[in-house]
């Protein structure tokens, strides 16, 4: 009886079932709070024509950026891709399609997708290029555009702690998009720093309830920092 034991022991098992052409929703903000081992596994499996939904696309040699090296990504839906030269190259040469999406709209698309809400109206982007071909509706005299929600075959998540039920706790700003992404995957896979005993996480401290989570794997993380900024210690 597996019951609610969602812990898997290999990355292969964690990403089992991922196919060419799938949509993968990834948590993370820049390189902060990204499922490093799950991304590496996708690279290893060599799955192609993926649609990736993530705030950013990593950097050239780390994070989601490594999936660009073997041209595994067909399309990316992101708010900011400025850190990645390889991405810009593939975009300009037409090898990859990009749908730049405002950050708040992206978060809401994931949230709504996971909550069974197919679309929503927002003032964000009205009158800008991203509003092209989108329905406009006025509420209380202000125009809003219709945005459609997002779900994916897979969601890949990074959390701090999980129990075998898939209950998750995130650490500091490594939370970012992870809780929304976790709700929007048909199969949600979480890579964590620590798997704790059942009951160790207090019910009221859980950020993401295990109902959204299908698989949990204990990873090890490099946690690369994009910009180390410090003040002198005096």
């Amino acid at each position: 009886m597996a019951g609610f034991d969602k812990v898997v022991s290999s990355y292969e098992e964690a990403m089992q079932g991922l196919k060419d052409g799938d949509t993968v929703i990834a948590g993370g903000f820049g390189l902060c709070g990204i499922p490093e081992g799950l991304i590496a596994e996708i690279k290893k499996q060599g799955t192609k024509d993926l649609t990736l939904v993530s705030n950013n696309c990593g950097v050239d040699d780390f994070g989601l950026g490594i999936l660009l090296q073997d041209k595994q990504i067909k399309k990316i839906i992101a708010s900011y891709v400025g850190e990645n030269a390889l991405f810009e190259q593939q975009l300009l040469s037409g090898e990859i399609d990009v749908e730049l999406t405002p950050q708040g709209t992206l978060a809401e698309k994931m949230r709504a997708g996971g909550a069974g809400i197919p679309g929503f109206y927002t003032a964000t982007g009205y009158g800008t290029p991203i509003a092209e071909d989108k329905e406009v509706k006025e509420f209380n005299g202000r125009p809003y555009i219709l945005e459609e929600s997002i779900t994916g075959e897979f969601a890949i998540i990074k959390a701090w702690k999980a129990d075998r039920y898939g209950n998750l706790v995130f650490r500091h700003t490594a939370m970012n998009f992870n809780p929304m992404a976790a709700t929007a995957g048909k199969i949600t896979v979480v890579e964590v720093e620590e798997i704790v005993e059942p009951g160790e996480l207090a019910p009221s401290e859980i950020h993401t309830p295990g109902i959204y989570v299908n698989r949990v794997i204990k990873g090890s993380f490099e946690k690369r920092i994009e910009r180390v900024t410090t003040r002198p210690s005096t």
């Binding site: 903000f29 820049g30 390189l31 902060c32 709070g33 705030n55 992101a78 708010s79 900011y80 891709v81 400025g82 850190e83 810009e88 975009l91 990009v98 730049l100 405002p102 950050q103 708040g104 709209t105 992206l106 978060a107 809401e108 994931m110 949230r111 927002t122 003032a123 964000t124 982007g125 009205y126 009158g127 800008t128 290029p129 991203i130 701090w160 995130f170 650490r171 500091h172 700003t173 490594a174 939370m175 970012n176 998009f177 992870n178 809780p179 929304m180 950020h207 946690k223 690369r224 920092i225 994009e226 910009r227 180390v228 900024t229 410090t230 003040r231 002198p232 210690s233």
Partner: protein, 218 residues
């Protein structure tokens, strides 16, 4: 003389009021945090999910899980809260953030702003800027008055792809402080030593000058 980046930030900091929740964009806006008066309490929002952004950490306190929207390592101030991206943008889109300060390529006399894309040249993405300009109660833009070719960035109508329409209320440039209302730029203050004529010459959009224009106090 035209203001330095630090002086622009210093002038913008005067716009912050006690009890404000403020989002500061990347570049000059980030510097504003260095000039907040000790007499007031403000809370800085970072859209990756931190309300109450503190100083940079000392070297021994650097934590990869603790960054700001510019992907720099930071600390949380006392009274801070950390939350997910949807919550962060609920604050922004729901109009709970009092003031947003951000940079721009162009602003026009109707308060529309272009800040995220130069076709065929710069395609990085808008990040949270479109949400911020659509949601904040008040928006201040900081930028140089003219580009490096001497062409005005305060226009009748923006030429670059827009970030938002009719949303900018105030602009602080290296030459002047201007208010945007009723389809025109109103000159409020000029940088010390900068003649009004220079501002007229470098403002392409409709500029309204009422009475004597005071110099900024820095």
């Amino acid at each position: 003389m035209a203001l330095s980046r630090e002086q622009v930030a210093k002038r913008v900091a005067q716009e912050l009021q006690d009890g404000y929740y403020v989002n500061l964009g990347i570049g000059i806006p980030t510097l504003v945090a260095n000039y907040v008066s000790d007499d007031i309490e403000v809370m800085l929002q970072s859209e990756n999910g931190l309300l109450g952004m503190g100083q940079f950490p000392t070297e021994d306190k650097v934590d990869a899980d603790m960054i700001n929207a510019g992907k720099e390592t930071v600390t949380a101030s006392i009274g801070a809260a950390i939350f997910n991206s949807a919550e962060s943008f609920a604050m922004i889109r729901g109009g709970h953030v009092d003031l947003t300060v951000l940079g721009a390529f162009e602003v026009d006399q109707n308060g529309s702003i272009a800040s995220w894309m130069i076709p065929k040249k710069l395609i990085k993405g808008m990040g949270g800027a479109m949400d911020l300009v659509a949601g904040a109660q008040n928006i201040i833009v900081t930028m140089t008055h003219a580009n490096k070719h001497g062409e005005s960035k305060l226009l009748e109508s923006c030429t670059l792809p827009l970030t938002g329409v009719n949303c900018v209320k105030k602009i602080v440039t290296d030459l002047a402080v201007l208010e945007v209302k009723g389809g025109a730029f109103y000159l409020l203050e000029r940088a010390p030593g900068v003649p009004v004529d220079e501002i007229i010459e470098k403002t392409a959009g409709k500029l309204i000058i009422e009475g004597e224009i005071p110099e900024m106090t820095l």
